[in-house]
Symmetry: C2
Subunit: 376 residues, 2 copies
């Protein structure tokens, strides 16, 4: 399902291609997040217009509402949400973990209180796989435990042992059920944990590779650790992952971080940052983030960014600021569209540069301009 | 600026054409409302896709935020909001009137407290015309006073006398300034008042026609009166308005009301109903309004309506209900788009029927199905 088209000579960056039941995905790729079956504010036709190749759905949210039984009855998440291209679902593990005091981690799974109605629920590895099979994602993620940052080595090791036992239970469930997704079989990615401990990351990667999955994610990153630790977590895992399988860094990152991760051999990314910050009035530009609500933009006739998509480029910063101040939904739409365009183009551009053999230049010149101090 | 293409033999319905500085408008026509420089939730390209020929902007809201001086500096409301086709602005009179106890009506104008910051402000006929000239609307409305329902004949008569004196002041301002809009001159519509009193409606219409405007609106309708009074207000005004000028019923109405008004010789309509009700989960269908949040739609795979636009028709009622319950903005977009499509198609269909000589059939068969009791 995965083949490599090109590798960079100066870094671990690579250009590949995944063939999934709902189509082909060229990597590196950025996946917009559609938490509740909708990439916030956007129409699926706009995502296609933006060149999104694969989007992410959240198992936890869709399980609680509207429920995986309903989505299965409506023909799966693709048909339910009118998204025709590949879909990846997470396992729900990170969401229940994020509930903090409302959840308890036990051998059998995670006991938690439903954030919608407070009822007591249990999510297990088997149930996570069953829900993801019902949703019909092209790629389902294994159910894991994400240790917090910071964690002691003892805690991280015990947590990793649990994640590994859960991975075996997921594998058993998959083998027993052989879930399908449209015309093909569903693919499954294991998740490397191990916190900041290099030997644990290696141990986790080796154990998952022994179980043989279709791809491997690096989890437990972007949980409050310094950026250097985030890069190190990737560097500690990648050498033990097979060259011929896709690698996915979960929940990342800023535009420069994406390029740094690509340079370290990562193929897939997802992040709510472009859409979430859009709803708070932050637009990404080649010169760094722009806060549209600032007074400085009140009478600025320029578009958000020289690289803005034509769908957004016709609007001045002054107008966008007005829409935000007036609470108009069009503001949220336009900035969400713009930011996803920015992230998707950034990663698509990285792929083109890897193929052309110019990735290091691409990365360095982007980061130099993006992180340049503002004009005094 | 206005010519008649066809008149109906069985009613006062007519098909006409307005030539305005930013393009041609075929009537009868429904105008989507863009209160703050945005038709709520929609992109201007979507309005064009829907066949909107002219939209409305609100002088009161745009004056307070972002201010007409800024909009003038940014090239006018067309350029500011990226809307290329004709625009109509109201006078702000109805909005300040709606402030209730926060406003005082005096000979010079309306004193009121700004709803955004509570500051004391004064809107006069001259200032309303000046703001609308700065916004650069194709059609500007005269500043009027709208009597409440019910009003005594004495109150309505005194209010009408004020509206007529204000109309003269507006006319004087227009003559002195000759405001332009893009390549052509701005057009101006007078507003017939007179509450439920036939002689006052006649007197108002005659006084405005004496002053000679480009079109005439019927105001003071849809202010809480019974539907029969609303129709009577139109019937009491229309006979005294020139055949060769467009007629505009302000702030109306339900789908059956639009057809009833067209049958009574009205050419222009505006109403927030399609977009406002959309945001509350109401979709218009050929069988009447549908409340998408109802449990009945939870697993309904059908689209909203057999006449839904392709942009919306791909989504099931079950999915739209899920989006609403989950608070997803896409729900507001899709229902707003759908409802505007419904209203625009309804009125465009009425025009086609007038031209084809089948308007009575069109109206009767629509209303029969729309108002039919629900299936038991």
């Amino acid at each position: 399902m995965f083949s490599l088209d090109a590798t960079d000579s100066m870094s671990s960056a690579r250009a590949g291609c995944m063939v999934l039941p709902h189509g082909m995905v060229e990597t590196p790729v950025f996946m917009p997040v559609g938490t509740q079956g909708s990439v916030k504010t956007l129409h699926p036709a706009e995502l296609e217009e933006l060149g999104a190749q694969i989007i992410l759905g959240n198992t936890y949210h869709l399980w609680l509402r509207p429920g995986h039984a309903l989505i299965r009855e409506m023909g799966g998440l693709h048909r339910f949400s009118s998204w025709r291209k590949p879909l990846l679902t997470d396992s729900g593990g990170f969401q229940v973990w994020s509930l903090g005091k409302l959840r308890k981690i036990r051998e059998e799974g995670v006991h938690f209180q439903n954030h919608l109605d407070g009822s007591k629920m249990l999510l297990t590895p088997e149930l996570s796989m069953e829900i993801q099979a019902a949703l019909g994602a092209d790629i389902a993620m294994l159910f894991d435990e994400c240790p917090p940052y910071p964690s002691t080595e003892a805690y991280a090791a015990a947590s990793l042992a649990l994640t590994t036992r859960w991975a075996r239970r997921c594998k058993d469930w998959i083998s027993a059920h052989d879930p399908r997704c449209g015309a093909g079989r569903q693919f499954h990615f294991g998740i490397v944990q191990g916190s900041v401990y290099a030997d644990l990351r290696e141990q986790s990667a080796r154990a998952l590779v022994d179980l043989d999955f279709d791809g491997y994610a690096i989890g437990g990153v972007s949980v409050g650790e310094p950026e250097s630790e985030m890069f190190r977590a990737i560097e500690n895992a990648v050498p033990f992952l097979p060259h011929d399988k896709p690698r996915y860094a979960m929940g990342l990152g800023t535009p420069p971080q994406l390029l740094e991760m690509i340079a370290r051999g990562v193929d897939l990314f997802d992040c709510v940052m472009p859409t979430r910050l859009a709803r708070h009035g932050v637009a990404f530009t080649l010169d760094g983030p722009l806060h549209i609500k600032n007074l400085a933009h009140a009478n600025d006739p320029r578009p958000l960014c020289e690289s803005a998509h034509p769908h957004v480029a016709g609007f001045s910063r002054a107008y966008l600021r007005h829409l935000f101040r007036a609470g108009e939904i069009l503001a949220l739409r336009l900035l969400s569209f713009h930011n996803l365009h920015f992230f998707l183009r950034l990663v698509a551009g990285a792929r083109e540069a890897i193929v052309a053999g110019t990735f290091s230049d691409y990365k360095d010149s982007f980061i130099r301009r993006y992180t340049r101090p503002p004009f005094p």
